[in-house]
């Protein structure tokens, strides 16, 4: 793989998996995408959602998981449409509620890998409370939030991650609300793996999603994306490739960020990419449930 790509991602060769020749044909998981009547996707050409879907597929493939043991749960929004295209056990629920449905499913099937795909509005506005409490419980769900800083599906209303001053169809004078720091929220609430990258830095996304799925606990990967159709157009950010380029320009790796002086860190406005938090101490929730059951059945304290 070309050195400049590795440099752009600030990766070592042994840190990444180099895509093989004929990667589509040789990939069993890709072959199992739901081809029957579900493609092309409903997404706009150039949308970042497809990139995240690709990363998720590669992560699952690399983990060697069978399609049967994976459940994808989502809410409503453009991001929420992802599961229908993938040949897993897929549950497309209501706006904001993916994690609450996933909680019941994970308890019923603790052996399954339960993955929740959410948009920023989905996870942080209407579903914010479920997000906090899923993290607090440390239930073994991998959450992937595609943060495009806007309500894409409904046509570009401001979301809890829309930057101050930016245009949205419901913020014609510019947004006046501060945004929610998604990863920091997850860490504070108790998530045990938290990472952030962008849809430009695909190899990072692959890696983080894989690690998040492997983590036995509540994990979050924030995939910073863009919506050129609504947010991009309203704010004159240009085409999808141009917005993608902005993600490259306006982000910085955690390693590089940590080398900055305290003053420059404080003034940093770039997206910090990297594994932001890992906690190996906390026990996963369904394991605690099982212990509790054993205690109750063993005539434990009543």
């Amino acid at each position: 793989m070309a050195e400049h790509i590795l440099d752009a991602h600030e990766l070592d060769v042994d840190e990444i998996r180099i895509p093989r020749e004929n990667w589509f044909e040789s990939s069993e998981t890709l072959q199992k995408l739901r081809k029957n009547k579900k493609f092309p996707t409903i997404w706009c050409a150039g949308c970042g959602n497809g990139i995240v879907m690709g990363s998720l597929i590669r992560a699952i493939e690399h983990l060697g998981l069978s399609n049967d043991e994976v459940a994808l749960v989502s809410g409503i929004g453009c991001a929420g449409r992802m599961p229908v295209y993938m040949d897993f056990n897929t549950l497309h629920t209501n706006h904001g509620r993916a994690l609450a449905f996933a909680t019941g499913l994970k308890i019923a099937r603790p052996d399954m890998k339960v993955i929740a795909i959410m948009g920023d509005g989905d996870a942080l506005a209407i579903g914010g409370n479920h997000f906090i409490h899923a993290a607090r419980r440390n239930i073994g769900i991998t959450s992937i939030v595609i943060n495009n800083a806007i309500y894409g599906m409904t046509g570009g209303q401001y979301s809890p991650t829309t930057p101050i001053g930016k245009q949205a169809t419901t913020a014609p004078y510019g947004n006046i609300e501060p945004s929610f720091p998604l990863c920091e929220l997850a860490i504070a609430a108790g998530a045990t793996y938290v990472a952030r990258s962008t849809v430009y830095h695909v190899l990072e996304l692959d890696k983080y999603i894989e690690a998040a799925i492997r983590k036995d606990g509540f994990s979050l990967v924030e995939a910073v994306s863009y919506c050129h159709t609504t947010y991009g157009r309203l704010n004159k950010f240009g085409t999808a490739p141009e917005m993608m380029r902005d993600l490259k320009k306006n982000s910085i790796s955690k390693a590089a960020y940590e080398k900055l002086s305290a003053k420059r860190q404080a003034g940093n406005s770039k997206i910090v990419r990297g594994v932001l938090h890992v906690n190996d101490e906390r026990e996963e929730f369904t394991k605690l449930c099982r212990k509790l059951t054993e205690q109750a059945q063993g005539g434990g304290r009543q």
Binding site: N89, R97, A100, G104, L105, I107, A108, T293
Partner: protein
């Protein structure tokens, strides 16, 4: 087993366990909380899981998720919580995922009177979620019936792949009566059976009778579930030739089996001129009023509705044909009376209502009988 003094809410918990419920998600609310407390103690003993969710929206979502995962699942709540559950309740109806929702009604609207009984959620149980959808609601009149109908709720839910609402109230939920519960092993319990192989499985088939079997996630049957209108494989569709067969099957799947779903208790006097149609706690007052009225020489019949939805149209219509007046006592301002009026005609119906959180008294019903 042995006779014990038991609360209605507790009996619901035992009924759930007897029916094979292995997952409960809920959020505390008076007057339903005893159900959660009881199941938090008992479920782990049988290998089940209790979870207290962050709200009722999440509780309803979690029981659907658990049911999709293959567990029989239940939640219990009261008025304000029942309102919060409506969106996900519609999801369960749309996706045909079995689950049981207990609503121990309290006086509303809003926070109302938390400890006072009510029958104010009867119409909400039918139409609370948006859109046309099938629903079953059943309502016990005693502690023992709270147990029996909870089992029935699970059985109907599994059999017809539909959410079932157990509509009780603070009065029966909190009342204690001596009951002698049967041995759980002797009870009839409906289990999910999937006969087709994963390759042939059609999760929302319109060609397997009214109710296609439901395969749990993770058992080799990979498919899609969505609250969008979907085709027989579960994929979203906008095609009218896929939407209409679905509408027809799902909205008729209960109507085609009313014999099994509709439960009433009849106490008929052949030459009666007046009849009472009652349900839940009001049926208890009505029974007393009936006894007194008959002892005073009135000719009167009574129909107790255990199934509220689908409404027992045939039974009520037949009753109406045989009497001059039909008395409908309710702890609301007249909700199920609308249905009775639809079946027997408005002029025959005498409504007896109160919506202050107190019971309709036998005297109020007697006064109506005496006209």
């Amino acid at each position: 087993m042995a006779v014990s003094l038991m609360q209605g809410n507790e009996a619901i918990g035992w009924g759930a366990l007897a029916a094979g419920c292995r997952f409960f998600a809920g959020y505390p609310i008076t007057p339903s909380t005893e159900i959660a407390e009881m199941l938090s103690r008992e479920l782990p003993k049988v290998g089940g899981t209790f979870i207290q969710m962050e709200d009722e929206i999440a509780s309803m979502a979690a029981i659907i998720g658990a049911s999709v995962g293959g567990l029989k699942a239940m939640t219990a709540t009261s008025g304000p919580g029942f309102s919060l559950m409506q969106e996900n309740l519609g999801y369960a109806a749309m996706t045909e995922v079995p689950c049981v929702i207990v609503n121990v009604q309290r006086l509303g609207p809003s926070t109302g009177r938390a400890t006072a009984g009510s029958q104010g959620d009867v119409m909400q149980a039918r139409w609370g979620t948006h859109g046309d959808h099938p629903i079953i609601a059943i309502s016990p009149t005693s502690v023992r019936q709270s147990f029996d109908l909870t089992i029935k709720a699970f059985n109907l839910s599994e059999q017809y792949r539909t959410p079932v609402i157990l509509l009780t109230e603070a009065i029966i939920g909190h009342m204690r009566e001596p009951v002698d519960l049967p041995e759980f092993e002797t009870l009839e319990v409906v289990e999910r059976v999937v006969t087709s192989s994963p390759d042939e499985y059609v999760p929302f088939s319109n060609e397997m009778g009214d109710v296609p079997p439901l395969a749990g996630f993770g058992q080799g049957y990979r498919y899609h579930i969505t609250g969008l209108f979907h085709d027989q494989m579960g994929f979203p569709t906008q095609r009218l030739d896929e939407i209409n067969p679905w509408l027809e099957r799902v909205n008729n799947k209960l109507n085609n089996h009313l014999d099994e779903i509709v439960m009433v208790e009849e106490d008929i006097q052949e030459d009666a001129t007046v009849a009472i149609v009652a349900y839940g706690a009001s049926a208890r007052s009505a029974r007393h009023a009936l006894k007194v009225a008959r002892s005073q020489g009135h000719r009167a019949s009574m129909l107790t509705l255990l199934t509220i939805w689908p409404f027992p149209e045939v039974q009520v219509e037949k009753l109406g044909e045989r009497v001059e007046r039909v008395i409908v006592p309710e702890m609301n301002l007249g909700q199920l009376a609308l249905e009775v009026e639809r079946m027997v005609g408005r002029r025959k119906v005498v409504r007896v209502n109160r919506a202050d959180g107190e019971m309709v008294t036998p005297q109020m019903i007697l006064d109506a009988i005496e006209g």
